[in-house]
Amino acid sequence: MDHLSVAAIGMGLVVIGAGIGIGNIGAKALESIARQPEAISDIRSNMILMAALVEGTALIAIILAFLLG
C-alpha cells in the first residue's frame, strides 16, 4: 500500500472515533436535557465544549494524515 491509502485509512479511523465520541456526547446531553429541561443552557454550552475537545484530537490526526500522506 502506498502512503496515500494508508493516510486515507487513518483518516477514516479517526472519523469513526470522533463520530462515536461526539455521538455519545450528543446522546447524553439530550438525555440530560430531557431529565432536567431547566438546565438546558448549562448542558448546551458544556456539550459544545466537549464536542470541540473531541473534534480537536480528530483534527490533529487528520492534519497529520494530510501531511504524511
Partner: protein, 403 residues
C-alpha cells in the same frame, strides 16, 4: 409526505451521479491529466491566498511588497502583471523578474531574465523529485526558453513543502485586504452602536443594536462570567473582540461572488489568533497555575517526572488545537462548496455534455445552498468555541487555590 419523496428523488439522483462518476473514471483509465477537470486542484486554488482580488471576471489589483535579498525591495500594484481570468488569474507580463501564476506572485531565479516589464508566453507545472521528495515546480516560458520559478519563502521549515527561497512576500494579499475590511466594518458598526447607546439610554434597542446586543450579552453572561468569576471584567473585552472578529471573518468568507475569501481558513491567520491567546493565558497565569504545571501539590515525585513534561506539552498543544480547529472547520466547508460546484463540470465533462451540466447544476445548487446554510451555523459555532475554550484556559490560569 412531499418532503420525503423529494428527499428520495434527491438521494437517488445523487447515487446515480456517484456511479456515473465511477464509470467515467474507469473509462478514462484513472488518468487525471491537464486536459480533464481536476476538482482537488480547483478546490485548493480557490481556498488559497492570492495577490489579486478576483470578483467574477475582474481581477482587482492589490499592492505587492516584495523583498529579494539580491535585488532589494520592490513596491508595485499587482495590476502590472495584467492577469487574465481565463488562466486562473495568471499574469500576461513579468515585471522586475516577478510573475503572477494563478494569482500568486513568483520569482524568476535565473539572473539572465530581463528586469523590466516583458510579455511572457505560458506557464507550466511539472512534477519533479527534489531531495528525494515529489514536488511541483513551476516554469515560465519566455521567448522559447523555460525559466524556473521560486515560490515565496515560508517559515514552516519544510513541513508543508515550503522553506526559505529567493524572495519574501510582505504584500497586502486578498486575505490581508479582507481582514482590514472586516476590522474597519466592525469598528464602524461598534462605534455607531456605542453612540446609539449613549443617545438612547434607558430605551429599547434599535436597528443594529438589536442584533448585536443579544450576541454581546450571550458571550458576556454565558462565557465570560461563568468561567472567570469575579475577574470577568478584565477579560471581557478580549473575549468579545475574539468572538466578533472571528465571526466577522467567518461570515465575510461566506458571502458568495465576493472573491470567496477564506481568511479564517488560512493557517497563518488562525495561528496568530492562537498565539495571542497563548500569551494572554500564560501572562495572566498566577502562581497556582504554574505550580500545577511544573510541581503539582500532593503528587508523588516519580509521578511528577512523568506529569510535568505532559503538562508543559499541553501548554503548547492547547493553542495548537485552537489554531487547527478553526482552520480545518472553515477550510472543510469551503472545499465542500467548491467540490459541489465542481460536480457540474465533472458530469458535464468540462462542457462536452451540456444536458448533464444543466441537470447537475440544479442538484448542485440545492446542495450548495444547504451547505452554505450549514456553514453559517459553523461560522457562529466556531467563533463561539474559540471564545469558550480561550475562556476556559483563562479560568484555569487565573483560578485561586482552594485546597
Amino acid at each position: 409526505m412531499l418532503s420525503k419523496r423529494l428527499l428520495i428523488i434527491l438521494l437517488s439522483i445523487f447515487a446515480l451521479s456517484v456511479s456515473a462518476q465511477d464509470h467515467n473514471e474507469h473509462e478514462a483509465g484513472g488518468d487525471t491529466g491537464h486536459s480533464g477537470f481536476d476538482p482537488a486542484e480547483v478546490a485548493f486554488h480557490h481556498i488559497s491566498n492570492h495577490n489579486t482580488y478576483s470578483i467574477g471576471p475582474w481581477n482587482l489589483p492589490l499592492p505587492c511588497i516584495l523583498y529579494a535579498p539580491e535585488e532589494g525591495w520592490s513596491f508595485f500594484m499587482s495590476g502590472v502583471f495584467e492577469p487574465v481570468s481565463e488562466h486562473h488569474g495568471s499574469g500576461r507580463y513579468a515585471y522586475k523578474r516577478y510573475v503572477l501564476h494563478k494569482g500568486i506572485v513568483m520569482h524568476v531565479v535565473d539572473p539572465s531574465f530581463p528586469t523590466d516589464k516583458v510579455e511572457v508566453d505560458d506557464y507550466d507545472v511539472k512534477e519533479e523529485t527534489v531531495d528525494g521528495k515529489q514536488k511541483e515546480v513551476t516554469y515560465v516560458k519566455y521567448k522559447g526558453k523555460e525559466y524556473k520559478l521560486d515560490a515565496k519563502s515560508t517559515m514552516d521549515g519544510g513541513v508543508f513543502g515550503g522553506g526559505i527561497t529567493s524572495f519574501y512576500d510582505f504584500s497586502i494579499t486578498k486575505n490581508v485586504a479582507g481582514m482590514m475590511l472586516v476590522a474597519l466594518f466592525l469598528m464602524w458598526v461598534f462605534l455607531s452602536v456605542a453612540r446609539t447607546y449613549r443617545e438612547r439610554e434607558g430605551k429599547a434597542p434599535k436597528g443594529v443594536q438589536g442584533f448585536l446586543e443579544p450576541l454581546f450579552v450571550f458571550i458576556q453572561d454565558e462565557v465570560t462570567k461563568p468561567f472567570l468569576g469575579d475577574k470577568w471584567e478584565k477579560y471581557n473585552p478580549y473575549l468579545l473582540t475574539l468572538f466578533f472578529f472571528i465571526l466577522g471573518l467567518n461570515l465575510f468568507g461566506q458571502i458568495p461572488f465576493l472573491g470567496g475569501s477564506n481568511i479564517t481558513g488560512n493557517l497563518a491567520v488562525t495561528m496568530v489568533l492562537a498565539i495571542v491567546t497563548f500569551f494572554v493565558v500564560n501572562l495572566s497565569g498566577n502562581k497556582n497555575y504554574w505550580e500545577h504545571i511544573f510541581w503539582m501539590p500532593g503528587v508523588p515525585t516519580w509521578v511528577k517526572s512523568i506529569l510535568t513534561p505532559v503538562e508543559v506539552m499541553s501548554m503548547f498543544i492547547k493553542p495548537m488545537t485552537l489554531m487547527l480547529r478553526l482552520f480545518a472547520n472553515v477550510v472543510a466547508g469551503h472545499i465542500v462548496l467548491v467540490i459541489f460546484i465542481g460536480l457540474i463540470f465533472v458530469f458535464g465533462k468540462s462542457g462536452q455534455s451540456a444536458g448533464a451540466a444543466y441537470g447537475t447544476s440544479i442538484v448542485s445548487m440545492l446542495l450548495t445552498m444547504f451547505m452554505m446554510s450549514l456553514e453559517i451555523l459553523v461560522a457562529f459555532v466556531q467563533a463561539y468555541v474559540f471564545t469558550i475554550l480561550t475562556a476556559s484556559y483563562l479560568s484555569a490560569a487565573t483560578e485561586e487555590a482552594h485546597h
